[in-house]
Amino acid sequence: MSEQTSRSWRGEAQVDADEAAERLTAGSLGGGAGRLLRELLTPYRRALQVLVLIVLVENAARLAIPYLVKVGIDSGIPPIRERDDLSTLLMVVGAVLLATLTQAVARNRFLVRQGVVGQDVLLALRRRVFGHFQALSPAFHDGYTSGRVISRQTSDVDAIHEMLETGFDGLVTAALTLVGTAGILLFLDVRLGLVALLCGPFLALLTNWFRKASASSYRVTREKVALVIVHFVESMGGVRAVQAFRREERNQAIFDDVNDQYRRANLVAFRLVAWFMPGIRLIGNITIAVVLLYGGYLAYRGEVTVGVLAAFLLYLRQFFEPMMEISQFYNTFQSASAALEKLAGVLEQEPDVPEPAEPRPLEQAAGELRFDAVRFEYVEGRPVLPGLDLVVPAGQTVALVGTTGAGKTTLAKLATRFYDPSAGRVLLDGVDVRDLASDTLRDHVVMVTQENYLFSGTIADNIRFGRPEATMEEVVAATTALGAHEFIAAMPHGYETDVANQGGRLSAGQRQLVAFARAFLADPAVLILDEATSSLDVPSERLVQQALHTVLAGRTAVIIAHRLSTVQIADRVLVMEHGQVVEDGSPQELVAAGEGRFSALHEAWQASLA
């Protein structure tokens, strides 16, 4: 597939926020990412200090071992040669054993504590992110999409987990090894030490090159893998359309293309490592050769002992090993910093429907809804509701009718506080809904929409969602009233059928009935139905309407519907246009008026039945 086609099929779009975050933070912990990390770690300051202490002890013990080997060779062997005196050697060996055990214990403590702190941080982060997403309004979720919400809480948290688990350890150990080894080498012998450390600038150059090159290669790889994943998931999720429209061949061409782009991006990344790792090895081996030459010469001259030379060789091994691991750590670090940046972006998002500082209690609601000069705009300067005044007395059933974009759904969403008005007030029983805790408000005002998500668990669990303490009799009563009892009882495990398994075959209409049962059982004072019957066939809809008749008695209800059959049960019809109520009256009155929109709609509907 050519470059040209690969560009055109995707189409144009604005730069994705996630991609932007990857770009922004590639290889740095600036801005939001750094701030969030500090916030997360602050409660563990003491634990981190202890960790650093342990790691210092561990590294000191580890670094002591080659030195002790040197002492063993230089001071332990001569007494044996001279008078078979093992005491010095035994002392040294005892010290090595002690150092070994110290290192082991310290290492163990470090890994365990690091694991605990890391998991504590993750737990805190997970809860905070989940809670924050729950606090953000549906309007935010609409724009952000559930796919992103999920990947924030899975792959991004995993990236941070990876960094906490391996990254810190790798970084701290590498740094301590570098500094500690350099110090000991200089201490053992300044000249030989300086010669050995000549490798430093080369290491720095190589590492710096790798850091820069891998930052950009990492970004490209992420972009490419995202393309592969999106194309894969969408063609499998939409396989019905793919097959129905004989799309397989072109899909395969597109997939081959993105798959190959991903391969090439990966190849660049792999090749960077293919240069970097042997590069470090090369510098290390040259250093060893130089140390052998110069150290051998110094030892020949008697200026250093054989033990020092041996210690040097052992230390140099330790010196270069963590350097190689940096290449692995680096990717971890990059994905973690991008993840932190994205999470910080979410957490900085202020809930646009904030909880009141001092919520008003509302034990029992009568159900009077009042819109007081309510203005609402999605886009500034283009109000959907320019200024609505409306009172729905407690117990009244109101039907909202009007064309798409007339503001019916907006009105419903303001009453349930999915949004807050730009100006004016929405009052429930005279209390501004902004003064009620959202859980309190929604105990009294429940909305059923076309979208009827079922949670994992049984059908009964789903019906009880709004009122978990409801008895089985109450559940059955609700479904029976709706005509849903029969199909549920006919399922393999009846009400205990798992929605994720057999429940997967529930039709849209059946899901809708479950959603209705859920709302009926919740027993709210105000029930809002937004296009809730549109996926039902006529007989089911009729049953729902009959049920509504009983259920709505004594309750306030706002019904939004396209179909006029639904409107018939209303006490009052509001025809909306451009955010204004243009007709208001009982269905009979409006039809009897003979002119006007409702009456025209009604006529057309009658004609279709004839």
């Binding site: 080997v69 290492r107 041996a310 060789l313």
Partner: protein, 601 residues
């Protein structure tokens, strides 16, 4: 009754179960060996380079020994420079070999992974709806990414090092034994507990890792429900409850993860202690050996260096075995999909001059996981060329599945579907699907340009054709998108409303210029006004095309020449709308509004 008439083995009918892990073993990996064939040369190079690396890893400490025992101890300065030169040469050579191996390896493993992913995708596209209905795209994705990466890691890295490490272990131990056998024995003895421990740890680690994975999965499910179900959660004010559920799962994961960290910590501690204790013993015995003249000092230094060079090959055995285990599981999971043969096979025939005469004869259909509950039980229907027939039936009566039988998204379980007198199963499947186009109720949009989404069934459509289709489906709004037809739509692009999506799906089907057009309740999300406009424009297309229109509303039914009523898996009545309304109570019940409700006078 049902047991005797049911299919012989329901497992065969159903294909693999996405929730049950397949049996994995060495044989699973072995079956995928064909993918390695193009890279045999590369693998040989990698092997040679690695073996060379092993030789050098042993060689360099031996040069060290020569320097200490020669120039330093025996005071022979002349040998120093050549020996150091040799060390340099070996060192450079080692780096070159590592580079060579990695370079070749990069090409080979990525090529391998890419090919496997391509084949997997190609195979999945050919598997029928019966398969995809059971497998979520997420489950398939984890095979195309995580599992393939596991196979890549093992075949490119694990397999090689499994071999190399064993070679290095044996060779180095042999050198050590040769050098000074008592110390050699100590080293060989130290290797045993490490290998034993690694394998034992490996088993426990696999168990706890799986538990962590499961719990992560549970948590991810809750995160997903919290995101997708946010409107329901908010509607019922249940954030606190959902938050508590999440909390419990997060804490459980926390506890298991801490256990896992403890287990790893214990293992790594032992892994470091054992070689270091061996160093202690070697130092003790070696120094005594040197003191008593049984061993040169250079040998002792070389000994310790060589010994330390064994730590990684030995301790990594556990990791590599884990990798192998993972790769075996992964390949079993992939083979499970490869082994699912497309149950819908293409025929050979083509219709030279299609007229669009559609006929269903005694059609039965049951979902493979519920063979005893047939959805369709003997449907007979004849749709004449150019005729539009409305399909009416209660929710869940099988209207959608009936329409899906025509383009063979599913196959009948009994009876046959004929197009122009030919059983659709005898037709070349691409040919068949070029004759039939469906506009689905819940349209799938891909994250691609609007044009690409529209021309799904006809990539060579001209601008004029596209315009016409957009006009018929009242989908002119695409011109108002920021980049017009080139705007990316779908999940990763511009968000469209349900009604807009349905109109695009309709345009897509119309654009395919089918001989048989299926409209599966395509207009349900449109408001009354738009629906009327679409219906008016559609009339032109339907005049010349055979069509099946699934309908819930009287207004949609009026598009049709005749109406077919689907009840209890059979077509019970066929006739005109008014006729059925007048004579069939069941039809009246389905399509008419509530007559008894207080209709305003």
């Amino acid at each position: 009754m049902s047991t005797t008439l049911g299919p012989p083995s329901s497992a065969d009918q159903l294909g693999p179960d996405p929730d049950r892990p397949p049996a994995a073993g060495v044989h699973s990996l072995w079956r995928l060996r064909g993918y390695l064939r193009p890279y045999v040369g590369s693998l040989a190079i990698m092997l040679v380079a690695s073996l060379g690396g092993v030789a050098l890893a042993i060689g360099i400490p031996l040069v060290t020994r020569a320097i200490i025992d020669g120039p330093v101890t025996d005071r022979d300065l002349g040998a120093l420079l050549p020996l150091a030169g040799l060390a340099l040469l070996l060192g450079v050579l080692e780096a070159v070999l590592v580079f060579w191996r990695r370079w070749v390896q990069s090409n080979a493993v990525l090529g391998l992974e890419t090919t496997m992913r391509r084949d997997l995708y190609a195979h999945l596209q050919r598997l029928p709806m019966a398969f995809h209905a059971r497998w979520g795209s997420g489950q398939l994705l984890s095979r195309a990414t995580t599992d393939l990466a596991a196979i890549r890691r093992f075949s490119g890295f694990g397999l090689l090092f499994l071999l190399i490490n064993v070679v290095q272990l044996v060779a180095t131990t042999a050198v050590l034994l040769h050098m000074y056998w008592p110390l050699g024995l100590v080293v060989a003895a130290a290797a045993v507990p490490i290998v034993w421990l690694s394998m034992r740890f490996e088993k426990r680690y696999v168990v706890i890792s799986r538990q962590v994975q499961d719990e992560q999965g549970d948590l991810a499910t809750l995160a997903e429900e919290g995101a997708v179900g946010i409107r329901v959660i908010k509607s019922f004010g249940r954030s606190t409850h959902v938050g508590e559920l999440y909390d419990v799962a997060a804490r459980r994961l926390h506890a298991t993860s801490v256990d896992k960290a403890r287990l790893s910590a214990k293992f790594w501690t032992f892994l470091e202690v054992i070689p270091n204790v061996a160093v202690v013993v070697v130092l003790l015995l070696g120094a005594i050996g040197v003191g008593r003249g049984q061993l040169s000092i250079g040998e002792l230094v070389a000994f310790i260096t060589l010994m330390l060079s064994l730590v990684w090959p030995v301790s990594s055995l556990g990791v590599i075995l884990a990798m192998a285990q993972e790769a075996m599981t992964a390949s079993a999971r992939i083979l499970e999909i490869y082994d699912t043969k497309p149950a819908i096979r293409s025929g050979e025939r083509e219709i030279a001059e299609p007229r669009g005469h559609l006929r269903l004869e005694g059609v039965h259909f049951a979902f493979p996981d519920a063979p005893d509950e047939p959805v369709l039980r003997g449907v007979d229907l004849d749709v004449r060329p150019g005729e539009t027939i409305a399909l009416v039936g209660a929710t869940g009566s099988g209207k959608t599945i009936l329409t899906a039988l025509v383009p063979r998204l599913w196959d009948v379980t009994a009876g046959r579907v004929l197009l122009d007198g030919v059983d659709v199963r005898e037709l070349r499947i691409e040919h068949l699907r070029s004759l039939v186009a469906t506009a689905f109720e819940d349209p799938t949009l891909f994250s691609m340009s609007a044009r690409e989404n529209l021309t799904l069934g006809r990539p060579d459509a001209s601008e004029v054709d596209i315009e016409e289709a957009l006009e018929i489906s009242q989908a002119g709004f695409v011109h108002d998108l920021p980049w017009g037809l080139d705007t990316r739509i779908g999940e990763q692009g511009m968000a469209l409303s349900g009604g807009q999506r349905q109109r695009l799906a309709l345009a897509r089907a119309v654009l395919a210029r089918p001989h048989v057009l299926v409209l599966d309740d395509t207009l349900s999300a449109l408001d009354v006004h738009t629906e009327a406009l679409v219906e008016e424009a559609l009339g032109r297309v339907l005049a010349s095309t055979t069509a099946i229109v699934v309908a819930h509303r009287a207004s949609t039914v009026q598009l049709a020449d005749r109406v077919a009523l689907l009840e209890d898996g059979k077509i019970t009545h066929v006739g005109g709308h008014r006729e059925l309304l007048a004579t069939v109570p069941a039809y009246r019940d389905l399509l008419a509004g509530d007559e008894n409700a207080e209709v305003p006078a």
